[in-house]
């Protein structure tokens, strides 16, 4: 990054400060009007609607219900992150070890869900889990149950579906680091007397940690603000911050409270990005 900047500065044919400003102007205008203004508007609402003051924050943070929802959101995000890590790591590991067609096949299996709309995938879980859905039909037919199970609108369902949606992100994040570990390191470990597990424990795992950390951060942040899946698959008892904010905005029309809750969620996210992002140096990666 620093080198590139120095390079550009030394490049006599590069764009000067004024030209650079002109080049960046359109994107900044677009963002200022349609992104920054709406977000500051939200902040503004939280302090002014209906009255000037911090009443909305007192409500948001003082209410047992809202605190419970906030904690649930964090808790679900933790579980989903842990699940994607546990399920995703072996896939990333296999992907980094095989080559050619096998690797392509795994990549396709990971990428197809990634390129399929979150809404479609959430819908797929409804198809599977609803009262007369595929799972219940199957269980009824095999005689394992005689009444359809209530599988939807439960916390577990939201967790499973969110894990499903976020898993490819974790896999790709870990894989991108695993594949950059030189092959001769595991050969060296093996030559020096390490068996398969020792090689993994002492060499592969520690070297893959940057990928694990960035995957964890990414999945956790997305999970915190996840809307579609909990909105479709969750019930009243699985209300999360995102669905609560949505409700306040379009149903209760309490924009002040929606603003305050948004600011809380935003603050939490930025805090995490600040804490981990710096440690991870997300900046330098892949750019």
């Amino acid at each position: 990054m620093a080198a590139a900047t120095a390079n550009a500065a030394a490049n006599p044919r590069g764009f000067g400060p004024r030209a650079s400003l002109v080049l960046i102007l359109p994107v900044m205008l677009l963002l200022a009007v349609f992104f920054v203004l709406p977000l500051t508007g939200l902040l503004d609402q939280s302090f002014r609607s209906p009255d000037l003051g911090i009443a909305n924050y007192v409500r948001a943070l003082g209410s047992d219900l809202y605190m419970k929802i906030l904690l649930r959101t964090v808790w679900l995000s933790v579980i989903v992150t842990a699940l994607t890590l546990v399920l995703g790591y072996p896939v990333a590991l296999t992907m980094s070890r095989v080559s050619g067609r096998m690797q392509l096949a795994i990549a396709v299996c990971v990428l197809i869900p990634l390129w399929t709309s979150v809404l479609v995938r959430s819908y797929a879980w409804i198809v599977l889990l609803q009262r007369r859905g595929i799972v219940n039909e199957f269980l009824l037919q095999t005689g394992l149950i005689d009444q359809p199970l209530r599988l939807l609108y439960r916390e577990g369902t939201v967790i499973v579906a969110m894990t499903h949606v976020l898993l490819p992100f974790m896999i790709l994040s870990i894989y991108s680091v695993l594949r950059s570990i030189p092959k001769d390191l595991s050969m060296a470990a093996s030559n020096l007397g390490a068996g398969g597990f020792s090689t993994f424990r002492h060499v592969i795992w520690p070297l893959s940690l940057p990928g694990v950390y960035s995957g964890v951060l990414m999945v956790f942040i997305i999970a915190l603000g996840f809307y579609i899946t909990p909105a479709l698959l969750g019930g009243p008892e699985t209300l999360m911050m995102s669905t609560l904010i949505g409700q306040q905005t379009t149903e209760t029309l309490d924009w002040g409270l929606a603003g305050a809750l948004s600011v809380v969620l935003l603050g939490l996210t930025l805090l995490l990005v600040g804490l981990f992002g710096r440690a991870l140096r997300l900046e330098g990666k892949g750019i």
Binding site: A189, A194, G195
Partner: protein, 375 residues
């Protein structure tokens, strides 16, 4: 810096017991490529063997089968009489230095060097002590807490070496370990590694594509080409008595002349009649019939030039170009057989022959090798 590098490998470790390695009929096929084609060779305890060949010759594959990273399709590999053909790499107890050193980037030098000891259940304290001692042997005393990324290429090379010898393996495998270093350091490390090897008494199998490296370092050189073992022998033997044109051309510089076998010259040496009518002497690598097409190889430094026209039937020509190359001077001599002859003479030792000078071209019959011209 220079003196530090030069004196780096001076420490005195306990001598290791060199192991013997025996490869019998090793074959390995990848798809349609024969990486190893019936290779057999033996390495004696304490010997330094170089595996030399161009890329794709199978030298690395051969090393990998010894290390255990490749299992040959056929054949057997024994170390000290123990059949290790299918033993996994981590149970072979062989040391290895990788081309890019393969140091664990997240471990300190002490942990890197201590790693093989850790895998062998050596207690932490002893591990650290032995790692530090071996780091001292390779001239990196007091560097134990550093990370590999804080070292220069030459220093990383030394750590890789330390890590490979700390558990005192009977055999050390080296996969082009000097190829990532710059020229000066590379030439210096050649001798250092050779000296360390002699002091330790460890057996070394060393893969390289650099013929000079092989000549300088090895006790014996095995030349491979297209998966086959072409010739194995002491450096001098290979250089002076190559068994075929490939070895002659790959090991050092040489000139090739084509002609037909035409009886013997005045001194009784077999002679070769060239297209230009001249007849030259040489010693056949294999018995050759008169009239057979043949290829003569003569090294640039073994050709003698004398000013003056050549006698009828002898080889003569004109100096086409003189190239000063420091210690030696290269003369390109047009002898009328296509490509000019490349002749190397020590600079200043003899009279300078200007461009255009007619010269007589001679050499001792025993210095030139005659091979059957095949294909």
């Amino acid at each position: 810096m220079m003196t530090n590098e030069a004196s780096a490998l001076r420490g005195r470790p306990a001598a290791l017991r060199g192991g013997s390695v025996r490869i019998e009929g090793a074959r390995k096929v990848y798809g349609s490529v024969r990486a190893l084609d019936d290779v057999s060779l033996e390495v004696a305890p304490g010997e330094f063997l170089a595996l030399l060949g161009p890329s794709g010759s199978g030298k690395t594959t051969l090393l990998m089968t010894v290390a255990g990273f490749e299992v040959p399709d056929a054949g057997m590999i024994t170390v000290d009489g123990r059949d290790v053909t299918t033993v996994p790499p981590n149970r072979r107890d062989l040391g290895m230095v990788f081309q890019r050193y393969a140091l664990f980037p997240h471990m300190s030098l002490r942990d890197n060097v201590g790693f093989p000891l850790r895998m062998r259940g050596v207690a932490t304290d002893e591990r650290a002590a032995r790692a530090d001692r071996v780091l001292g042997v390779v001239g990196l005393e007091g560097y134990g807490d550093r990370l590999p990324s804080q070292l220069s290429g030459g220093q990383q090379q030394r750590v890789a070496l330390a890590r490979a010898i700390v558990y005192e393996p009977p055999v050390l495998l080296m996969d082009e370990p000097l190829s990532a270093l710059d020229k000066n350091l590379r030439e210096q490390m050649r001798l250092e590694i050779k000296h360390l090897q002699k002091r330790l008494g460890v057996t070394v199998i060393f893969v390289t594509h650099d013929q000079e490296e092989a000549l300088v370092m090895a006790d014996r050189i095995a030349v491979l080409d297209k998966g086959r073992l072409v010739q194995i022998g002491a450096p001098r033997e290979l250089y002076e008595k190559p068994c075929n044109p490939f070895v002659a051309g790959f090991l050092g510089e040489t000139n090739f002349l084509t002609g037909t076998v035409a009886g013997r010259d005045a001194a009784g040496a077999p002679a070769l009649a060239l297209q230009n009518g001249a007849s030259v002497a040489g010693s056949p690598a294999v018995p050759l019939d008169e009239g057979a097409r043949a290829l003569l190889s003569i090294r640039p430094e073994q050709i003698t030039l004398q000013a003056g026209p050549a006698a009828a039937g002898a080889l003569g020509g004109r100096v086409a170009e003189v190239i000063y190359a420091g210690a030696s001077t290269i003369y390109l001599v047009d002898v009328g057989t296509g490509a000019p002859l490349n002749v190397r003479r020590p600079s200043g030792a003899e009279e300078t022959l200007g461009e255009g000078t007619p010269v007589r071209v001679t050499w001792r019959a025993s210095d030139a090798r005659i091979f059957p011209a095949e294909a």
